[in-house]
């Protein structure tokens, strides 16, 4: 389809370590259309951040191996040189990281950060760049932007820094914004402001957003489609509404039941997923979730294929394959 902005095909990322090969991302395939918000949810070590770093071409380690295709507007980003990637990063694809405390250089002003971004990708004078920086700060809701633009990161609060980073990311109207846990380090009332800001900016800039989070609530606030990852694989993909109403994969179900929810009646016990998340160093054969799954059976010793409908929605679980057959 022509409208696909980003299409990831069979992405695999592995790292050689002293203890063996860590398969961080396994055969990940998904796509995102213009103006869409895709949420990627999963626990630590599920591969959600690594896969996005791979998409951005940020995995440079000599022990890392990245295979597959990352088609951005039809061009494979994995085949591009560093120089070609630099022209795309920041301009067409921008990224917002989790920790606003470490994403800014403490010795430069907020305005410098935004100006650098602008001047790297376009021929724009210092004066115009500064004016644009003030405009952007105003757009993300920073009060008194003309004064704030000359301040240093330590003079900003956590929420304001995250706003400044979002302003930087949006400075060149990127087609795709990748936000890796953008609100995890923030307080609830500030998180609500940032989520609201992202939604507003998506509408005005018509950007697509990929938001990575472990928080089902954040996913639910923002995204239209959701991808659930476990142990480096996509286990379920669905629209937001059907994911929350009819989760298909046992892991998704378990994950949703184990969150203490404010919008549901209180129970004396939370349902849990037994055991620990699978170690990527020695993944069990077959379905990685098998050892924690209450519906595991003989067939699960093989890797289940991801069964999807025509929209690409579905899950990787034998129960569904068997359910469809009978």
């Amino acid at each position: 389809m022509a409208e696909k902005l980003l299409e990831v095909k069979n992405l695999c990322v592995s790292f050689k370590t002293r203890k063996g090969v860590v398969r961080a991302v396994n055969n990940l395939s998904f796509s995102i259309n213009h103006g869409e918000v895709l949420g990627i949810v999963g626990e630590s070590g599920s591969g959600k951040s690594v896969s996005m770093s791979a998409v951005m071409g940020l995995i440079k380690d000599e022990n890392a191996e990245v295979t597959g295709e990352v088609l951005f507007n039809g061009e494979d980003l994995l085949k591009k040189s560093d120089e070609e990637l630099r022209a795309i990063r920041g301009k067409d694809i921008a990224m917002v990281f989790q920790d606003p405390m470490t994403a800014l250089t403490p010795v430069y002003t907020i305005g410098w950060h935004i100006r650098e971004q602008l001047q790297l990708h376009s021929n724009i004078s210092d004066k115009d760049a500064k004016a644009r920086a003030i405009e952007l700060l105003e757009e993300v809701g920073i009060p008194d932007p003309a004064k704030r633009v000359n301040q240093y990161p330590h003079e900003f609060s956590g929420g304001m820094r995250q706003r400044a980073i979002i302003a930087m990311a949006l400075s060149l109207n990127p087609k795709l914004l990748i936000a890796d846990e953008p609100t995890t380090a923030l307080d609830v009332t500030i998180q609500a402001q940032i989520l609201d800001l992202l939604e507003r900016l998506r509408k005005t800039h018509d950007s697509s957003i990929i938001i990575i989070t472990h928080d089902m609530g954040v996913i639910s606030e923002l995204s239209s489609e959701v991808l659930v990852m476990y142990a480096g694989r996509m286990v379920e993909r669905s629209t937001k509404s059907s994911l929350f109403a009819y989760p298909q994969h046992p892991y998704t179900k378990g994950l949703m039941n184990s969150v203490p929810r404010v919008d549901r009646a209180r129970t004396s016990r939370l349902e849990t997923i037994s055991g620990q998340p699978a170690s990527l160093l020695n993944l069990p054969s077959g379905c990685a979730f098998r050892s924690r799954c209450s519906s595991a059976h003989a067939a699960c010793t093989e890797q289940p294929v991801f069964t999807a409908d025509s929209n690409g929605y579905g899950a990787a679980c034998f129960l569904l394959i068997e359910g469809a057959r009978s």
Binding site: D187, T189, D196
Partner: protein, 319 residues
């Protein structure tokens, strides 16, 4: 009340910093007159955002830190001014659980030694230490052979179980837990929360549970104290606080919490502005700078926590 275990009265904590320059001192008022009671066997949840003083409050009640003023009546005795030596026997009864299970276990000691240490300090015999450590490992759901392992062999959730086992060694009555599940993954968080509840039922523990996650606090608590800039702004039962919040800050906090079920989405109320710094607390009601219903009077008149209906609220405008 006959079975009241703890009564905190008008606790204040002022920290001094040397940040003023030219020898001037800045003072940070971390807690500004906090009072509440706690009944044996109940769980009080303390919620609030960064800098509201919730962790300071936990540290002061467990006397890891001393209050500047106020009383902490534990079982009829004021422990607010007790010396370290005087506190020592009480440490058996009041235990503290920290947020980060990676930082609170000594990496060079075996799990068994870690769990036995409090008992060693309090003079429990070697054999009894060993049996109790093994019992506790089992109780918190860890394998018996964990005894000889080291912390790095465990995941975050398992480590937090070790920390809980250690806190239980001296049969405490009051456990103060500061964000004990926020460093854990969701599926593991649920396991640890269930463990907290099971242990409470079994050992009649009283909990003070400090957390920022509104879902977690609601799940575990009987009563909830909502804090903002060093004060309790609302205190009441879980049902009242979540179903019928009175203070505008409680309302905003609940409405800001991302909801999974979007179908029942009510209009979201988003607070403007940042949380003010405790270094320069606003005059009057400290929430007035962000409050959607503030009137001019709020910037001068400081509201007291008073009973309104079923809850205690500190707001000039709630009647």
């Amino acid at each position: 009340m006959s079975n009241e275990i703890l009564s905190v009265k008008n606790i204040r904590k002022i920290y001094e910093s040397s940040g003023g320059g030219y020898g001037r001192k800045n003072t940070v008022s971390a807690l500004d007159g906090v009072s509440f009671n706690l009944v044996q066997g109940e769980t009080l949840g303390i919620v609030g955002e960064s800098g509201c003083g919730k962790s300071t409050l936990g540290r002061i009640i467990s006397r890891l830190d001393s209050p500047t003023a106020g009383e902490i009546i534990y079982k009829g005795n004021d422990i607010a001014k007790k010396s370290l030596a005087e506190m020592r026997p009480l440490r058996k009864e009041i235990q503290f659980i920290f947020q980060d299970p990676y930082a609170s276990l000594n990496p060079r000691r075996q799990i068994g030694a870690i769990i036995e240490e409090p008992m060693r300090i309090h003079g429990v015999s070697k054999e009894e230490r060993r049996t109790r450590a093994h019992d506790l490992l089992e109780k918190v759901g860890l394998d018996k052979n964990s005894y000889e392992k080291y912390p790095h062999e465990f995941s975050g959730g398992q480590r937090q179980r070790v920390v809980i086992a250690r806190a239980l060694t001296l049969k405490p009555e009051l456990i103060i837990a500061d964000e004990p599940v926020s460093a854990l993954d969701v599926s593991i968080q649920a396991q640890v929360l269930n463990l907290f509840k099971e242990l409470q039922d079994e050992m009649e523990l009283t909990y003070i549970f400090v957390a920022h996650d509104l879902g977690v606090v609601r799940h575990i608590s009987d009563r909830i104290a909502v804090m903002y800039l060093g004060k309790i702004v609302e205190l009441g039962s879980v049902e009242e606080i979540y179903n019928n919040p009175q203070h505008p800050y409680t309302k905003a906090l609940l409405s800001a919490n991302p909801r999974i079920d979007q179908s029942a989405k009510s209009t979201r109320q988003i607070l403007t502005g940042d949380i003010p710094s405790p270094l320069s607390r606003p005059s009057g009601c400290s929430f007035h700078t962000r409050c959607p219903i503030a009137v001019p009077e709020c910037s001068t008149r400081e509201p007291d926590l008073r009973r309104i209906g079923a809850v205690d609220v500190a707001c000039n405008l709630v009647v």
